[in-house]
Structures are given as structure tokens and as C-alpha cells.
Symmetry: C2
Subunit: 313 residues, 2 copies
Amino acid sequence: MTENGNLHYAIVGTGAVGGYYGGLLAHAGKSVHFLLNTDYSHVTKHGLRVDSPNGDFHLKKVNTYHNVKNMPPCDVIIIALKTTHNHLLPAILPPLMAHKDTLVLTLQNGLGIEEEIATLVGANRVIGGLCFLCSNKTGPGYITHLDYGKIIMGDYYQKRSPETISKRLSILANDLNSAGIQAQTARDILKERWKKLVWNVPYNGLCTLFQTTTDKLMRHAPMKLLIRDLMKEVVLAAKSCGAIIDNKFTDEMLQTTEQMAAYKPSMLLDYEKKVELELETIYHRPIQKAAKNGFQMKKTEVIYQQLLFLNNY
Amino acid sequence: MTENGNLHYAIVGTGAVGGYYGGLLAHAGKSVHFLLNTDYSHVTKHGLRVDSPNGDFHLKKVNTYHNVKNMPPCDVIIIALKTTHNHLLPAILPPLMAHKDTLVLTLQNGLGIEEEIATLVGANRVIGGLCFLCSNKTGPGYITHLDYGKIIMGDYYQKRSPETISKRLSILANDLNSAGIQAQTARDILKERWKKLVWNVPYNGLCTLFQTTTDKLMRHAPMKLLIRDLMKEVVLAAKSCGAIIDNKFTDEMLQTTEQMAAYKPSMLLDYEKKVELELETIYHRPIQKAAKNGFQMKKTEVIYQQLLFLNNY
């Protein structure tokens, strides 16, 4: 922390997610340090632009780094890489663990993320996060925020109960809030991950397989049945892993999505950009975890195997 | 029958299937009467051409009919329409039931075909048939036979046991054989239908969904797993309906398909021609029949709902 108690942030992955949240933090005057790869030169020279319905801004001078070893000690490391790049984390994270209280907040989708990071930095440093954000990287150092932006975060516990909200998590949430980021704390991040999967498993997969938007799926009665079946399967899988999701939640998700405008899930955007799909964390791990607990996600398996075909073929 | 004991045939649907088998029968000198719709004028004027690795032939004079009421009494009515046109059968079949021994041989795919025809002509007239044929209609009155050609036929029994092979079925098989058609009799046509579904359910659906050929699917390990899972599900569904298929059969089907050249199943050809897909008989009825017997074809349901989306969207 700085002398006045401010947190220092490192942003790992300055794309649609890291660029947006890191941009908001820096715009609010926080100490933010961006690790960049392809956009390093551009952002060093031209800064970071964020267009948003909440107000556009352009950060002309940004703390940019191309090598993790040059980054200063930080209090919070925000991981905003695609999970398909998590093989880079063993090289990135250890040098950033400057002092023993450095926290790692992961804003990645799917299951098993906290476990993966815990093996690199120790479980006690890990905060799990999920973002409900609609934004795109539309150019080098240029983020277009479209809608939403909430973060749900929870302490990672290797043993699931009793779950509490730690003081450090409250401090982090407050600091994010003070930068205009809607950050909420949750007692059970695993349950939150399963709840997000209730949406991600049907819509990411089916929109990608049919290269279509959510509204087109929702207008077709048998497809809507399939979406509902997949959602219910995710709820049962969650239950087998000890995360109890209210049955009404699937209806709420269906209704919310029905009322949304035409929406392209991130997996479809990745498919269109011809980058690797996040199948491991969004499909494979949930299937594996449920199977380990005696529940077979039969319908989800079909979608997963089809996506593997689309991804590799 | 003619005075010399020859059977008179009516061919309902002169496409890739009816044109090929009807063509072979006429080429062998049998009395064959073709009911035609779009190709009526062309075939009346130019006859019927069949190209085949077994020898090309051109029937210059063909007995063609545009209206079922003008057709003569026949002994065997061969139904070779797509099942998506079965709504036409209540108008077509009754006028053709000239005498009480007229038989109806259906060469259509899927389940519930015999039941459907039995309601129109009576159960005792129905012979169920399946063809293992690779042929296409490549132009008006022009059939290109590519490979295979076997027919498996069985008497339709409303109550499933004891099943026997009737004398009339043997006579029909012999008559077809005498025209160079490889027709085999089976005691249990329902079981044969389920066995054909073991192939049709995975390959028709997945080739259509991904607009690809069988060899491309078989080269992809997770897709092959999905195909195997679907086959096993069909075997279990068949079992729930009292049709016991040997477990080895799925391995045989996988191996056979792996050794085949690039193949486009009929459903993919239909999709490419933008005609309605045979989803009712190949997917919906098997799912319904298994469900009625307490078995849910979960993976097949996914493929079915996806195909409905593709079909209607």
C-alpha cells in the first residue's frame, strides 16, 4: 500500500476486461501497472482509451510493462487473461508476489480457476471474481464498453465451509467501488461460478455452434427447450458439487436473456476472431467435477464435444 | 399377379430409391408402374436412366402415371417417398389397394413407418423394408447409383412375437432377387429399424449440423466419442423397446464407417437441397418410443433440437 493507504494494482491482461477495469482504476487516480504484450508499444506511446456509455476517457500516460520483472510491488494482481492463456501464469505470477499480503484477484470464467492460481501463489492469496461485463477490445489500447460491469468476488477457501467475507475482501471491494466499479462480495464464490455457468454453458456453446445471437435462439421453441435443459443440467451438476442454486434461477436467466437485445457471447467473438475457445474451464472442468461427484452432464457433454470439433477442425 | 405368376409393382416416389429399385425391376422385364409428380412429363417423354457401377441402362418406355386413380391393380406397392411426404399417403394408398392381397412395402427410414401405413391399409398388408443404398437423383428421370443396394424386409406384426417370415415375404424377396436386387428377409423388422438408427442418429445429424462428411467426423477423437455415445444411447433405447442389439454392433458400425470413403448422409443432401429433413421418423419417434418405455435419449435429444433449429431457421 501507499503511505495514504491506497492499494497498488497490477493488471495482467489488458484486453476487454483488464483494459476496462484497469482503465477505470487509473482514471480514478489509483496506482495501476499494466502488463502488456502485443499492445505494449502502442499503449506506452498513445495511452489507453475507454469508450463507455458512462463517459469516454483517454489515459495519456499509463504505467506500461512488457516484462513482469520490471513491475513494482503491488497489493492486488488482477488477472484478466483468457483462461486459454493460463499456461503463462507460472512465469507471470511468482515475481509479482512482492510481499506476503499481495492478493490475486482472478476475473476469469469457468471452474477450477482459483485452484489453478492457488498452486502458483498459495491458496490464502486468492480472491475469485466473476465479471458481468459487455466490452470489447476494438483496437490496440482501445476498449469499447457497451453495457453492465458488475464484479462478484469471494475469498477462495480450499475447504468450502464456513465461508465468510474477509476484511481484505471488503477493503478491496470498497477500493474498487471508489473507482466507480460495481464490486460486490459473495460468501460462496464457487456457487457464483456455477450460477454464471448456468448462462454460459447453453448460450456460449449454442451461439458459437450456430454462429448466431441469443435472440435468434430464444425465438425458436425447441432450441429454448434445449437451453432450459442445459441450464437445469448445470443446476444439478452444481448441486452434486455442493452448490445449491434455486430452481427459479433458470427461469430468471431465460427471462433476462429473452429481454436482452441480440447478444454475441464472448465465445462466439473468440470463434470469429479465430482464437482458441475457453472450453477447458467453461465445459470440461464442470463436466469432470460433476462426474467426480456422480453426476453425468450428458447434454453438456454433447455441446462440449461439438465445440471441440469446431475449435480444432 | 399376371397369368404366369409375375408380380405387378407400383412405385410411389420415383427418386433416388424408387427410381433405382423400380428401374431395376422394369429393366428385368417386370410389370412396373411409376407414380410421378414433378418428373412425370420428362419420364413419359424420355424414359428413366439409371447409371450404376453394375451397368448403366436407359428404359425408353416407362409406365408413368400422374394420378393414382389411373394406375392398374398392383400386387406390391413400393413406397419410396421421403417420410416428410407421408401426409400424401392417405390420398395415394387407398385407390391402389385393388385386391385384398395387395402388399405395401415401405422403404423408408426411421421408426413408426409400418404403424403409420397400417392405419391406412390395414396391418396385414404391410411389409417393412430398409434399404442400404447409396444413390442420388441427379436430374429428371435420371438416377445415379453409387454403391450398395441391399434391402432388408420383414413382415409387420402389431404384436411383436412370435415373428416368422411369411410365404408372401419369401415370394417377394425371390422376385426382387430375380431382378438383381439383393433383398433379404428378417424376422424382426423393428430390430432392423433400430439397428439402422444406430448409424443414422449420429451420422445423419452430425454431418448435417457441421455440413461435413463422415470421414472428417471420424478423424476427430472427441467427435468419435460423441458418435459412440450416441450409438450406445440408441442401443439402450432399442433395448427399452424390446429390440436387443448386440453391444459389438456399435464397434462394427464405427469400424465400417471409418473404412468408408468421405460420405454425405441423405440428411445432409436434403439440407443442401433445402428440403425438409426427416427429423420426425429418425429422431422424434425413437425419442418418444424410448421415453414411453422409461428411457430418456438425452444426447439424441440435443442433436434433434439442434436439427430442428437448423431445419426451421
